[in-house]
């Protein structure tokens, strides 16, 4: 790892080729039953459907914004399916697949992007912290959380707890992220850094962020790094499982660079035609995470046409539910903004709340619409 140039071709852990052929990797054996493989396929299809619906809902004005995970399904589903119930995950803002696996209903995600809440779910209940918009911040939170795990004595065996944190290629430039790498290394914290390198940070291609393949950053901090094919759900699962095990057993952090592609716009506000060529997308479409799994399953008798049709039907139903539930999300009560700002009573804020309540009530009394 002494070579710090980007010129040599880095190794990419891949268990399933874009054509759907299985590859063996000595370090990352994976033994999945047909049922598990079908489960992964279902996850991939369903989260893609949630995502497609969300983009459409934003277009219809039902959501303020949406950050699409299109193309990154395998990296998210594979890594999240490697988690155990006791583990804790820290997402950025695009981890809808991880949220899905952690049992967060899509409705909660849509609520955040609709703006009816700044948070959405109970992190402890789901083993998934809230989405984090400020780039890189959550890497430190995950490291701190992991050091708490360490102090609870919850590492050191097969039943230990591990922490995973998700962030993007752009986030590797942020001071917080580099501090987290170092803190985790110095403290041997049980945390897996899962970087989805989707090649873009809004309009900036990876070469604006880094001169070395991202997984090699880890070496400088003194822990292992590995690049995995992020469009390969098998490899993402196997590599993350191994990294989590490493953390669980008390061997410290690992960095996983999931090599993938942001097939959509950065968010629904973004217009990628301004900064990237269409040919790039076409190239990545050939590496689509769902198509390759389906090709593998069909060719190896893991599933038949009925199964694929059933998953599609389930996706249709889910899409419909998402549409209906999103439109039905209640507007928050204006006085909600005063809730939970503090844990303890705060007289000044209580006064502001009371005055605002009076102000709102004055419109009700007058039978008029408040708040011009």
């Amino acid at each position: 790892m002494s070579d710090n140039t980007a010129h040599d071709e880095p190794e990419l852990v891949q268990l399933l080729t874009p054509e759907g052929e299985l590859r063996h990797h000595p370090d990352y054996p994976l033994d999945l039953g047909a049922e598990e493989v079908r489960g992964l396929y279902r996850d991939l299809v369903l989260v893609r459907r949630v995502d497609t619906e969300a983009v459409a809902l934003q277009r219809q004005g039902e959501l303020g914004l949406w950050a699409s995970l299109l193309g990154q399904e395998a990296a998210q589903i594979g890594s999240a399916r490697a988690l155990r119930p006791q583990d804790m995950a820290f997402p950025s803002y695009r981890e809808h697949g991880v949220a899905w696996v952690r049992g967060v209903d899509p409705r909660e995600l849509l609520g955040m992007f609709r703006g009816v809440t700044n948070g959405g779910w109970d992190p402890a209940e789901h083993g998934l912290h809230l989405y984090t918009i400020v780039i890189g911040s959550q890497t430190l939170h995950a490291t701190g959380y992991a050091m708490g795990v360490q102090r609870d004595g919850a590492t050191g065996g097969d039943d230990g707890t591990a922490v995973i944190v998700y962030f993007g290629d752009g986030a590797t430039s942020q001071g917080d992220t580099n501090e987290a790498f170092n803190f985790a290394a110095v403290n041997n914290a049980p945390v897996v850094f899962f970087c989805q390198n989707n090649q873009w940070a809004i309009s900036e291609p990876l070469e604006r962020q880094s001169r070395v393949p991202l997984y090699r950053r880890a070496a400088g901090f003194g822990f292992p790094g590995v690049r995995v094919d992020g469009n390969d759900v098998f490899a993402s699962l196997a590599v993350t499982r191994r990294a989590l095990q490493h953390a669980r057993e008390g061997q410290g952090p690992m960095l996983i660079e999931a090599f993938t592609y942001r097939m959509g716009a950065h968010t629904t506000n973004d217009d990628p035609t301004r900064y990237r060529v269409a040919a790039e997308l076409e190239e990545w479409k050939r590496k689509d995470p769902i198509l390759r799994l389906r090709a593998y399953m069909a060719a190896n008798g893991v599933a038949d046409d009925d199964f694929f049709a059933a998953v599609d039907a389930e996706a249709d139903k889910l899409g419909e539910r998402v549409r209906i539930e999103c439109r039905a999300l209640p507007d928050p009560d204006p006085l909600d903004i005063f809730h939970e700002v503090y844990a303890e009573p705060h007289a000044q804020l209580d006064l502001q709340r009371a005055e605002f309540a009076d102000y709102l009530a004055s419109f009700e009394d007058a039978g008029a619409e408040g708040g011009r």
Binding site: G64, F113, V116, N118, A171, S203, R208, P332, I337, V341
Partner: protein, 355 residues
């Protein structure tokens, strides 16, 4: 050039006044605040080869609000460039460039992401000139799309003025309309002190008619000056950024009831044009200050204190504050509830009139 650029000046002038209040259709030759800021940056890059523009996505994309659109193409990637995502890095870089004689105009993509750069802004940029006894120049203009009003997600609606106005060594400015934005930004860049330049993102698409003779012919006020954007005699509204237009809307409504409100656009938040604001308050005998930021320790308190110190005997009522609440900036649908409304402004006016 627009084919209708030669439209009658009288009609254009009427449209001008109305457009500033956000009610008129687009006049024939107009520009947005985004355009005006873009032109100011273009002018600054053209007139001084030491000027540099950099930040996240400011190059090929032209910034997420397109304020830097076309600048990289025109002035080259050495002078207009994308940085890695690291706000502390962006400002620290600007400090180093300034020490070496450059005139950096870095951008922080959104208000909330200025917080990671606070160390470089406060500990370094703000006091380098002082520490070096004037030998280290710091002519940095830190542009920050700021304030709320566009129903963006969390961390995209912050008001930073009180935080940065509190820091010795910094100047703070916030434009309220397109024409003024042009000169305000250019003056900030040409000045030799570090300026935190807060752009009201909800006003980027506001239009104003282009004056005959172009942008450079727009009225230019002295550095540090506030301006009366609407004269009145019953009470003074003091605001900056996006709240200026809201105050003008409130003044329109008050006028229907025969109450004539004077509206002062502060423009410079540090140093603050205390004498002019106090003079206005002394004339009308009543003042209401309006801002998006939370109430407690907001700049409204500073304005109230300055007015009270200077015009105490002329005031008929204590200075009122209409502000956001002491809560984190709320998500989308609750934003209109949080931001000062025309009604809340008028209620405060009423309180001063009835005092």
């Amino acid at each position: 050039m627009s084919p209708t650029a030669t439209a009658g000046t009288a009609a254009a002038a009427t449209a001008a006044t109305a457009a500033e209040r956000g009610r008129a259709a687009a006049p024939p030759a107009h520009l947005t605040m985004r355009d005006a800021l873009n032109r100011a940056l273009d002018t600054a890059l053209a007139e001084d080869p030491a000027t540099l523009v950099f930040g996240e996505d400011v190059g090929r994309l032209g910034g997420v609000f397109r304020v830097t659109d076309g600048l990289q193409r025109r002035h080259g990637a050495d002078r207009v460039f994308d940085t890695p995502i690291a706000e502390s890095g962006i400002v620290g870089l600007a400090v180093g460039l300034a020490m070496n004689g450059w005139r950096p105009v870095p951008e922080i993509q959104f208000d909330g992401f200025a917080y990671p750069a606070v160390d470089q802004i406060v500990n370094q940029m703000a006091r380098m000139h002082y520490r070096s006894r004037g030998t280290a120049p710091m002519p940095i203009t830190l542009r920050v799309p700021s304030f709320g009003g566009i129903q963006a997600p969390e961390h995209h609606g912050e008001s930073l003025e009180a935080l940065f106005a509190h820091v010795p060594g910094l100047r703070v400015a916030a434009p309220a309309d397109p024409l003024d934005a042009y000169h305000l930004l250019l003056q900030s860049i040409r000045g030799d002190d570090p300026v935190v330049f807060l752009e009201p993102k909800s006003r980027y698409w506001d239009r104003a008619p282009l004056p005959e003779g172009g942008l450079a012919a727009a009225p230019e006020l002295p550095v540090g000056a506030s301006r009366v954007v609407r004269p009145g005699r019953h009470a003074t509204l003091v605001a900056w950024g996006a709240m200026v237009r809201r105050c003008l809307a409130a003044a329109d409504l008050a006028a229907e009831d025969g109450v004539e409100l004077e509206v002062v656009d502060l423009r410079w938040l540090k140093p603050l044009d205390a004498d002019a604001v106090a003079a206005s308050a002394a004339r009308t005998r009543r003042a209401v200050v309006v801002h998006e930021a939370p109430l407690t320790a907001g700049l409204g308190g500073e304005v109230a204190a300055l007015v009270t110190e200077r015009a105490f005997r002329d005031l008929a009522a204590p200075v009122q504050r209409v502000t956001g609440f002491d809560v984190p900036y709320p998500a989308g649908p609750l934003e209109p509830q949080y931001l000062p409304t025309v009604d809340r402004i008028l209620f405060a006016v009423q309180r001063t009139l009835e005092y």
